[in-house]
C-alpha cells in the first residue's frame, strides 16, 4: 500500500485551537482518518479458520479477535453412499458447537441442523453428494471479548457418531465473529 508523505504543520503550545475553529479542516486530515482506519482495521485482521473432523467430540480453541461480540457457527457436511470401511451413518446428524470456555453449556450451544440435505448441494468436487449447511441466524452472544481470549470450540455430532465413518464423510466447522461497531466498548 502506498504511503504518501504528509506534513502536518500544526504547531503545539500556541493555543492554536482557535485556528481550527470555524474553518473547514484541511484535506490532509483525510490522511489521518485513513491512518486511523488502518490502525483500527488491524483489530479485525483475523481469518476465522475452518477445521475438518472425521470423528465426533472434538475440542479445540481459537483466539477470538478483538471487538468480537458474538459468534456464528457454520458447518459443512459431506457424506457419501459408497463406504470404504467402518460403520456408516445413514444420514448426517446435527452438528452442535459450543462457544464458551468451560466445556460447553446449553446457553452457549450453537446447533446447526442438518435437516435439509438438499440445501446448498455442492457441485464439486466429483465426489458428491455433498451438503452445505450453515447456521443462518443461530448465533449466540459471547462476553465482550477483547484480545487474549480463547474460544473453546466443541464440535459434537449428535445422533449417529462419526467414529468409524468412511474417510469420504466429514464435517467442517468454523466460527464467524461478529464485531462491535462501537470500539469504545472494548
Amino acid at each position: 500500500m502506498a504511503v504518501l508523505p504528509v506534513i502536518i504543520n500544526w504547531k503545539g503550545k500556541t493555543n492554536s485551537t482557535r485556528l481550527a475553529q470555524g474553518v473547514t479542516p484541511p484535506a490532509r486530515l483525510e490522511y489521518l482518518l485513513q491512518l486511523n482506519d488502518r490502525v483500527t482495521a488491524a483489530l479485525t485482521a483475523y481469518a476465522a479458520p475452518g477445521v475438518c473432523s472425521l470423528m465426533g467430540g472434538r475440542y479445540f480453541k481459537v483466539p477470538v479477535p478483538p471487538a468480537t461480540k458474538a459468534l456464528q457457527a457454520r458447518a459443512v457436511v459431506a457424506w457419501g453412499s459408497s463406504a470404504k470401511s467402518g460403520a456408516i451413518a445413514d444420514a448426517p446428524a446435527d452438528v452442535s458447537v459450543y462457544a464458551d470456555g468451560s466445556g460447553g453449556t446449553a446457553a452457549d450451544e450453537i446447533t446447526i441442523p442438518v435437516s435439509n440435505p438438499g440445501e446448498g448441494d455442492l457441485a464439486m468436487p466429483p465426489d458428491g453428494p455433498w451438503s452445505l449447511v450453515t447456521a443462518s441466524e443461530t448465533w449466540q452472544p459471547t462476553p465482550a471479548a477483547a484480545q487474549d481470549r480463547l474460544c473453546e470450540y466443541t464440535a459434537t455430532l449428535a445422533g449417529a457418531g462419526l467414529e468409524g465413518v468412511a474417510v469420504d464423510e466429514c464435517v467442517g466447522v468454523c466460527f464467524r465473529p461478529y464485531r462491535a461497531s462501537d470500539l469504545s466498548s472494548l
Binding site: N36, A42, G172
Partner: protein, 327 residues
C-alpha cells in the same frame, strides 16, 4: 533509548478538525500500533488430527513463523484411553521442508513436557508449552510418546504469545516501535511519524501468517485413502472459513503426501473457485509441495480430494491452507 509505550488496551481515536502536534491523535495511534504488535495473535496452526487412541504419534505441518522470532503458545487437546496414560509431548521444528517420516533426523526440539499423567478417559486441553520458533522454521512437529496407555490428540493450536513489552529497534518484520519522544517538543510533525504508524501496522499483520484450514495425520499411522474404479475421488478434507473482505487474496496451499501408484493426485480448492492439483506419487517417499489459489470470496468452503487408479493408496501427512494478509 526510551522504553516504547505499551498501553493496556487499544484506545479508539477520535479525530477532529484540530490536530495537536505533540499529543493525540497521532501519539495515540502510534501507541495503538504498539498494542497491536503485542496482541495480534492469529493461529499459525490449527488442526484436528485424524487419529484414534494410540501410544505414539508424530504430527508435522508446515508453518510460516514470524520473522521476529516470536514466542508461540502450543495448545493441545487430548483424551486418554480407558486405562489412562502417561505421556511425553515434544515440540520440534524443521527447516528443510522435506523430512521423511521415521528418519529421526532434521528436527530440532523446542520443548519437552515429560510424564504428563492422564486419568482414565480424562479429557484435557490447554497450553502445554511456549516455544520460540525461529524464522527459518518451515515445519513444526508435535510428538506424542506414551510410556503407558494411549492418548487421542484432538487438536493442535499454535499462536503467538502476547508480549508484555515492546522491543526496541527495528525488527526483521519491519516493525519499529513507536516512542513518545518522537513527537515531544515544539517541532512540527514529520512524515516519519505518520509513515511509521502505517508501516508498523502492515508489518505486524503481514508478518503473522494465519492458518485458515488444515488437516494433519500422524506420520506413522496415516489413514489410507483408497480410490476405486467406481469412486476415483475421495474427500480428504472439508472446511468452511471466513476471510471477510478478502476476495481475491492469494492463499498458499501445501501438501505432504505419498502414494503407491502413479497417477495419484490430491486436489485442493474452494467450492466454486480455484483449485490446484498435486501429483503425489514419488515412489516410496513423501512429497512436499506448495502452490497458491486465489480466494473467490470471503466465505469459502475449502476441500481436498484424493484421486487415483483403482487399488491405489494415498497417505496424507498434512494439507494446510494459509493466508498472509496483504497477499
Amino acid at each position: 533509548m526510551p522504553t516504547p509505550p505499551l498501553p493496556a488496551s487499544f484506545s479508539p481515536v477520535e479525530i477532529t478538525g484540530f490536530v495537536d502536534a505533540d499529543g493525540d491523535p497521532i501519539d495515540q495511534m502510534g501507541r495503538n500500533a504498539n498494542w497491536v504488535y503485542a496482541n495480534h495473535r492469529p493461529p499459525a496452526h490449527l488442526s484436528t488430527p485424524i487419529i484414534d487412541l494410540v501410544a505414539n504419534a508424530n504430527y508435522q505441518a508446515p508453518i510460516e513463523p514470524s520473522a521476529d522470532g516470536l514466542v508461540y503458545e502450543v495448545y493441545l487437546s487430548r483424551k486418554a484411553g480407558l486405562v489412562g496414560a502417561t505421556v511425553t509431548w515434544t515440540v520440534q521444528y524443521g527447516t528443510t521442508g522435506s523430512v521423511q517420516p521415521g528418519s529421526g533426523t532434521g528436527w530440532t526440539t523446542l520443548a519437552t513436557v515429560s510424564g504428563e499423567v492422564l486419568t482414565p478417559s480424562q479429557e484435557k486441553w490447554g497450553e502445554v508449552a511456549t516455544v520460540t520458533i525461529p524464522a527459518t522454521a518451515t515445519h513444526i512437529r508435535v510428538v506424542q510418546a506414551c510410556s503407558s496407555g494411549t492418548v487421542q490428540l484432538q487438536s493442535i493450536l499454535i499462536l503467538p504469545d502476547e508480549l508484555s513489552a515492546i522491543p526496541t529497534g527495528a525488527r526483521p518484520s519491519g516493525f519499529v516501535a513507536w516512542i513518545n519522544a518522537m513527537i515531544e517538543g515544539e517541532g512540527p510533525n514529520n512524515p516519519e511519524q505518520l509513515n511509521r504508524i502505517w508501516t508498523n501496522i502492515n508489518a505486524t499483520v503481514g508478518d503473522r501468517v494465519q492458518c485458515v484450514a488444515a488437516l494433519v495425520q500422524s506420520d506413522n499411522i496415516p489413514m489410507p485413502i483408497e480410490p476405486t474404479t467406481t469412486k476415483p475421488f475421495v474427500t480428504a478434507m472439508l472446511a468452511p472459513a471466513w476471510l471477510e473482505g478478502q476476495g481475491g487474496a492469494s492463499l498458499k496451499v501445501r501438501v505432504g503426501a505419498k502414494a503407491d501408484a502413479d497417477g495419484c493426485t490430491i486436489t485442493v480448492g474452494q467450492q466454486g473457485g480455484e483449485s490446484v492439483s498435486f501429483d503425489v506419487y514419488n515412489g516410496l517417499f513423501y512429497t512436499y509441495q506448495a502452490d497458491t489459489i486465489d480466494l473467490t470470496h470471503g466465505a469459502p468452503v475449502f476441500y481436498a480430494v484424493a484421486g487415483g487408479p483403482d487399488g491405489a493408496q494415498v497417505d496424507v501427512l498434512y494439507i494446510v491452507i494459509s493466508w498472509r494478509p496483504g497477499d
